[in-house]
């Protein structure tokens, strides 16, 4: 099962590092990643594979949200299907 992880917040050093470390610790594989900075706002979107993950989607979501609070960004973790359903015919 794949999930989309979206990180939004004010840009500062180390955001990508700390989020990807957190994912690696749970054995979540990052299949695709893109990031941009628009007017100081950092947005990173990652496509993650949870097949061999040590945690469930809900557990991962909880952990990443805590991580987000710690580093001052908002982190969303959503099942990939929601985007396929909404944006593909």
């Amino acid at each position: 099962m794949r999930a989309i992880v979206t990180v939004i917040g004010k840009d500062k050093p180390g955001i990508t590092a700390s989020v990807s470390t957190a994912l690696a610790e749970k054995n979540v594989n990052i299949e695709d990643i893109s990031q941009t900075i628009v007017q100081g706002n950092f947005t990173m979107i990652m496509l993650c594979e949870l097949e061999n993950a040590k945690v469930s989607l809900l557990e991962l979501k909880k952990e990443l949200q805590e991580k987000g609070q710690e580093i001052g960004v908002s982190i969303h973790v959503q099942h990939e299907d929601i985007f396929n359903a909404m944006h593909k015919i």
């Binding site: 979206t6 893109s34 979107i45 979501k61 969303h76 990939e80 359903a85 909404m86």
Partner: protein, 451 residues
């Protein structure tokens, strides 16, 4: 990979525009619980609801978390209760209380289906059942009631219309301490749908499967936001935007409904895409209409704007799912929509204009507070008008009206929570008692003869 813009758009819809799955409603057939004894039937109904809906709250929460779209309400609808109480007329309240207990045990906020279908005629047990409604609504918290009094196929049961005027008034009087809250949980229908997930009118139709999941998605804020970026656009351009937005919203509903039915071991029923407002700012249907260019909802042009909105919502929904059902359209409850509340307070919208609007949108006169001293025959007159609109136009119409005890035009009433607040609106001072008291069945329209 999925488009970045689309991902951000989805997140914004939830975070900034109040997009949510308004309700996951489990329909449960209770036919297997019928016995000739009130207590036995009530116990079996309680047990079955608790067993079938045991996990609905947890699973709805999980789904909301996994997909990142919150599920606001979890509900249960049941077989019309009048069919369960046929052999113990006079003891219907025993069942009403058991249903309410079951709703509390499984943790749903409302249970719908304390209902009767009497659109062509009324049996003695149905009459007894309907007369139990005010007491049932007084003694319960989460039980909702509805009565279908007309259909395009059979006409309007004017005896039931007359009776419902009295029942609504009695329901309000019994709950006078709560400003007539009982009447806010009671809907009178024409062409009631059997798979509606929204309250207070949900019930599990007799033609439905054993256990069914129906999902209601909403999103007035999302549509409003989409229209904001279309200043100066023509009407067909607006219709196109609404259609596309409705498509996206419905797809979410369909995904969640299929997943919910799988996890809850129930059949997938329908997705009901209804723009259902809440009293929260940014979640108003009235504001969508105003965004289209009306100075206030209720102005001339309102009916036309609503007609276009309702139609575009349906078209987007139908494209998105083959299982669109329920009411699917725009709701215009007064007390539950901040734009409507303001328009009613300022006098921009009247009961007459609301009635006109109901001829082009789903449902009808909804959550309207009127003076407590309104004669019951006048309430029946309001019902009859609304039922006629539904019958002639082959659509569902409804009346959920609250004659607030001891209040008059100019006063306000606060129901709280999702039910919101409303100013007391004026009704015609001219009577219709003689017309209502004639009784009998209003014949079905000529176009009902299609066989």
């Amino acid at each position: 990979m999925i488009n970045r813009k689309e991902i951000i758009e989805t997140i914004d819809m939830v975070e900034k525009e109040h997009f949510d799955v308004r309700t996951i409603t489990m329909g449960i057939s209770l036919f297997s619980c019928i016995r000739d004894d009130a207590e036995k039937t009530a116990t079996l109904c309680y047990d079955k609801i608790c067993k079938k809906a045991e996990n609905i709250v947890k699973i709805a929460g999980d789904l909301g978390n996994e997909y990142g779209v919150p599920v606001i309400n979890k509900r249960v609808s049941i077989t019309p209760a009048s069919l369960l109480t046929a052999s113990f007329s006079g003891k219907e309240i025993v069942l009403a209380k058991a249903l309410d207990r079951a709703a509390k045990t499984v943790g749903v906020d409302f249970l719908g289906g304390y209902s009767a279908l009497v659109h062509k005629g009324m049996t003695s047990f149905e009459e007894s059942f309907i007369k139990s409604i005010p007491e049932a609504l007084y003694l319960t918290e989460r039980t909702c009631s509805s009565v279908n009094v007309g259909s395009s196929k059979s006409g309007i049961n004017m005896d039931a219309v007359r009776l419902m005027g009295k029942i609504i008034k009695e329901s309000a009087i019994k709950t006078a301490d709560n400003d007539g809250l009982g009447a806010a949980k009671l809907v009178v229908f024409c062409n009631a749908v059997e798979d509606n997930p929204f309250m207070a009118g949900a019930f599990h139709g007799v033609g439905e499967a054993e256990t069914v999941i129906n999902v209601g998605v909403s999103g007035p804020g999302v549509v409003h936001h989409a229209l904001k970026s279309a200043k100066g656009a023509s009407i067909p351009e607006l219709a196109e935007i609404i259609k596309k937005t409705a498509f996206k919203i419905t797809r979410v509903g369909e995904l969640m409904a299929r997943e919910a039915s799988k996890r809850l071991n129930a059949s997938f029923g329908i997705v009901d895409l209804s723009l259902a407002p809440t009293p929260v700012m940014g979640d108003s249907v009235a504001h969508i209409l105003e965004e289209m260019g009306l100075e206030s909802v209720g102005a001339h042009g309102t009916t036309a704007a609503l007609a276009m909105l309702n139609d575009a919502v349906k078209k987007g929904g139908v494209m998105a799912s083959s299982s669109v059902g329920g009411l699917s359209g725009a709701f215009i409850p007064v007390s539950e929509d901040i734009g409507m509340i303001n328009a009613a307070k300022s006098g921009a919208i009247s009961l007459s204009k609301l009635e006109a609007m109901t001829s082009v949108c789903s449902v009808g006169i909804d959550m309207v507070a009127i003076p407590g001293d309104t004669p019951d025959t006048t309430i029946s007159g309001i019902i009859a008008d609304e039922m006629a609109i539904g019958m002639i136009n082959n659509k569902t119409t409804a009346v959920r009206i609250i004659p607030v005890p001891n209040k008059k035009v100019g006063d306000g009433v606060e129901f709280g929570g999702l039910l919101g607040s409303a100013p007391i609106m004026s009704v015609s001072p001219y009577g219709c008692a003689e017309f209502i008291n004639r009784g009998g069945r209003m014949p079905a329209p000529i176009h009902s003869n299609k066989n």
